[in-house]
Every structure is written in structure tokens, then in C-alpha cells.
């Protein structure tokens, strides 16, 4: 699974770069964020970036899945043949239409749509990143781009903690000793679980709300910020461990 993930994330990063180099028609970004509403909050469709990229991204994504999972060929070809209809439904935000469109298993359809939309969110994330790095700039635990709850946590240079959204490849400053689900700040009920020889990968477990958050200490990393979705999925063993020791998600 790791080779597929790696290729997928590289592909998505390339598309995100192309999108961000194109004209992104954004109203005053700071004013938007100052209202503490995520960028995509009021938009059912993605209206900030040109849509011409969606079709080639879809084609690329289907091809990549097919390369690694040839047994899905038939379903992938079906989706490819109905690409325009699929994109029309997505752009219209027609959730009902998508839910009742049973040409391929829903789980595959849902995953393809997720991955299809990711490059655009990554491009928006890149724009938003400089505005949310300071303490207090974005004080909620939900993503400033898509509004979903943070699904990953990082410790960056100088020990600063950031929550991150793996979908939008964006991170924002957040207090170290605070549960992002219930705001618990009691250090005695926040526990950090890790495998002995891997202290940089921790599970922050909150004993008040029983949620957990995977935390990665990237202070000594010698490379750029890794792709957060890849990091999250490649460490699925931590989720297993967190959940069998009593964590919920």
C-alpha cells in the first residue's frame, strides 16, 4: 500500500502546485479567516479555483489506482466513461445524486471523489498556511480550509505544536497540552503513548473524552513537511494500538 500512497501523494502535490500557480480568485483571505470561518464553509462547491483541472486529475487518479489494483479495472473504466457526469454531480454538490448513483461500489466512488478534490484543497492550504502559523491566529481545532476536525498533530521547530488537516495539507498553531476534541487542559488526564524505540510518533490520549490524536515530533526531520495524508495512513498501526487500548476516534 505504501508505494501506491507515495505515488498518489506525489501526483497530488504536482497537481496542487499547478493549481496554485494558476489564478486563484480569492477575496480578501485575511478577512475571511478573521471571521473564524473556514474558507470552504459557505460554499457547497469549490468556487475559488478554476475547474478545468478536475477532469485530468480524475483521469490521473483512476489510472494510478488501476496500476496498483488491476482487479478494480472494470469499476475504474466505468467511472472513466462517466467522468463528465461524475464531475457535474460533484460540482453541483449533489450528495443525494451521488449517493443514489450506484454504478460502482460507494466506497470506491467516495474515495475517488476525496482524492479528486485533494489537490485543490492542498493549493488553498498552501495559501492559508502563512496566516495560521502564529499562536492565536486560528484558535479552533478545525481546518481553516475545509472546516473538518484536525486529524493529525505535529511538533515542529522550537517545540511548537500544530494541528493538521491531512486532506488540505495545512497545519496551524495549537497549544501543546490541550485535547483538540474536548479542550481538556489537565496534564494529569492527557497521556502520551509510544512504542519504545519510536518516541517521535506518539498517541496523545485524552482520558476525559477518550479521543486520541496521533502526534509526530518533526523537530529533527531533515526534510520538508511530509505529505500528511501519507504520514497518517502509513502509521495506521498507531490507530490500531490507540483503539485497542481504549481510544475512540
Amino acid at each position: 500500500m505504501l508505494p501506491f500512497l507515495t505515488e498518489l501523494c506525489v501526483q497530488q502535490a504536482m497537481w496542487a502546485k499547478l493549481i496554485s500557480e494558476a489564478e486563484i480568485d480569492l477575496p480578501n483571505l485575511e478577512a475571511l479567516l478573521n471571521k473564524a470561518r473556514p474558507l470552504l464553509a459557505t460554499e457547497a462547491t469549490l468556487s475559488y479555483t478554476p475547474k478545468k483541472y478536475l477532469k485530468p486529475i480524475l483521469v490521473d487518479t483512476l489510472a494510478l489506482i488501476g496500476k496498483h489494483q488491476p482487479e478494480l479495472k472494470q469499476d475504474l473504466d466505468t467511472l472513466g466513461a462517466c467522468a463528465d457526469h461524475l464531475l457535474a454531480l460533484v460540482l453541483a454538490g449533489d450528495e443525494h445524486g451521488l449517493a443514489s448513483w450506484n454504478i460502482v461500489p460507494p466506497i470506491l466512488l467516495g474515495q475517488v471523489i476525496d482524492w479528486l478534490l485533494r489537490p485543490e484543497k492542498m493549493a488553498l492550504g498552501k495559501l492559508v498556511q502563512p496566516l495560521v502559523n502564529q499562536q492565536g491566529a486560528w484558535e479552533t481545532a478545525s481546518c481553516p480550509v475545509c472546516g473538518e476536525p484536525a486529524d493529525i498533530s505535529l511538533v515542529l521547530a522550537e517545540g511548537e505544536r500544530h494541528l493538521g488537516c491531512t486532506s488540505c495539507q495545512v497545519s496551524w498553531r495549537y497549544p501543546r497540552l490541550q485535547c483538540s476534541f474536548c479542550n481538556n487542559e489537565d496534564p494529569q488526564t492527557l497521556q502520551y503513548l509510544y512504542l519504545e524505540d519510536n518516541q517521535a510518533q506518539q498517541i496523545q490520549a485524552c482520558h476525559q473524552c477518550h479521543n486520541y490524536m496521533k502526534t509526530f515530533d518533526l523537530r529533527d526531520a531533515k526534510e520538508e513537511l511530509p505529505d500528511l495524508m501519507q504520514l497518517n495512513l502509513a502509521t495506521a498501526h498507531l490507530d490500531v494500538l490507540a483503539q485497542i487500548t481504549g481510544g475512540d476516534r
Binding site: 517545540g159 502520551y192 510518533q201 526531520a221 504520514l231
Partner: protein, 186 residues
């Protein structure tokens, strides 16, 4: 990532992580189930540095009651994670074998330090304070009652909190000490 001197000083006790993606061990969910007994846990407690009165924030990481590492608290408004060289070495309070374990006493005219216990030490200090005070106590001067001793001085420091400074003042004044000083005189 830049490698700063401050970061080096903070590395006492912290295991360094290899590059993220290449150092990542990938376990399947089945393998993960078998790892449950290799899971350790730590608690992180915020506290204040014990040295000067700036009061920088620290994060102390403990594992079953043993301190495993100490770093600056990046969310503390005073220092925002930075520590001076003394504060950064706080971990050594718990770990450095060169720390004295007993009071040491060198008798007058000798050149060796002898380890003493606290009972002897505190009794000896009390006796000498009393002796010095009694020998030097001035009840009155030029007809004015002064009740003071100039043979003892008290020097406080920034690590004293308000309650300790208050008790120290009360104690010293009751002895008659006038040389009552403090490092941070503001």
C-alpha cells in the same frame, strides 16, 4: 531544519527522530495488535523553572514517575519555549552524578571537606548564628534602643518566592539583622 545552539541544549534526554518517512516503520494492523505490550506512556507536566525570577515555563516529561526529559514550554507567554543555559540544563538536577548528596564541612585550619548529615549541619548553623548574634548584639546606642546585630547578613535571591521572602524578613528582623539584602532589589 536549522540546528540551533538552543536546540542542542534542549536535546538532553530527548531521543532524536530519524527522517520521518524513511525512518518510519510500517506495521500491518495484524502486527500492530502484537505490539500492545511494547507501548509505553508518558505524562507531560507544565511547570516553572526553579532558578531565577523570570519564571520561564518548562515541560517535564515523566514515565512512571521518572523524569525522562525537560524542554521549554512553547506555549508559555514568558519564554515561548526558549530557555537560558541554566534552565535548559534543568534535567541535570535529576541526573547529574556530580550533584552533592550531603552537606560538606571544612573545619577551620583544615584542608579537607567532610560529609555531614543534615541534623548535624542545621544544629551547627543554629548554634553559630546564635553565638554570633549574642556576641555582637547592641541593645542601645547613644541612649536609643537599637537591638541590632551587624555581624550577620542575609542575602536573598530571585529563586525565593514571596512567601519565603516574607518569612526570611520576619526571621532576620527578629534576630536583629540589619544587613538584609536581596539580589533582585526591585
Amino acid at each position: 531544519m536549522k540546528f540551533s545552539r538552543r536546540r542542542f541544549l534542549q536535546m538532553l534526554g530527548i531521543t532524536s527522530a530519524a527522517s520521518v518517512m524513511t525512518g518510519l516503520k510500517f506495521f500491518s494492523p495484524e502486527e500492530a495488535l502484537a505490539l500492545e505490550n511494547r507501548l509505553t506512556n508518558s505524562t507531560t507536566t507544565p511547570t516553572i523553572c526553579s532558578y531565577c525570577s523570570v519564571g520561564c515555563g518548562l515541560l517535564v516529561h515523566t514515565n512512571s514517575g521518572t523524569i525522562v526529559s525537560i524542554e521549554g514550554d512553547p506555549d508559555h507567554p514568558i519564554n515561548r519555549g526558549a530557555l537560558c543555559s541554566k534552565g535548559a540544563a534543568s534535567f541535570q538536577i535529576t541526573s547529574n552524578s556530580k550533584r552533592l548528596a550531603n552537606p560538606l564541612y571544612r573545619a577551620p585550619g583544615t584542608n579537607t571537606w567532610v560529609a555531614k548529615d543534615w541534623t548535624w549541619t542545621l544544629t551547627e548553623i543554629a548554634n553559630r548564628v546564635k553565638a554570633a548574634r549574642d556576641a555582637s548584639f547592641i541593645e542601645s546606642e547613644n541612649g536609643i534602643t537599637v537591638n541590632r546585630t551587624e555581624a550577620i547578613a542575609s542575602l536573598g535571591g530571585a529563586a525565593l518566592d514571596n512567601e519565603e521572602a516574607y518569612l526570611l524578613t520576619k526571621f532576620m528582623r527578629s534576630l536583629g539583622v540589619t544587613y538584609l539584602e536581596h539580589q533582585a532589589r526591585l
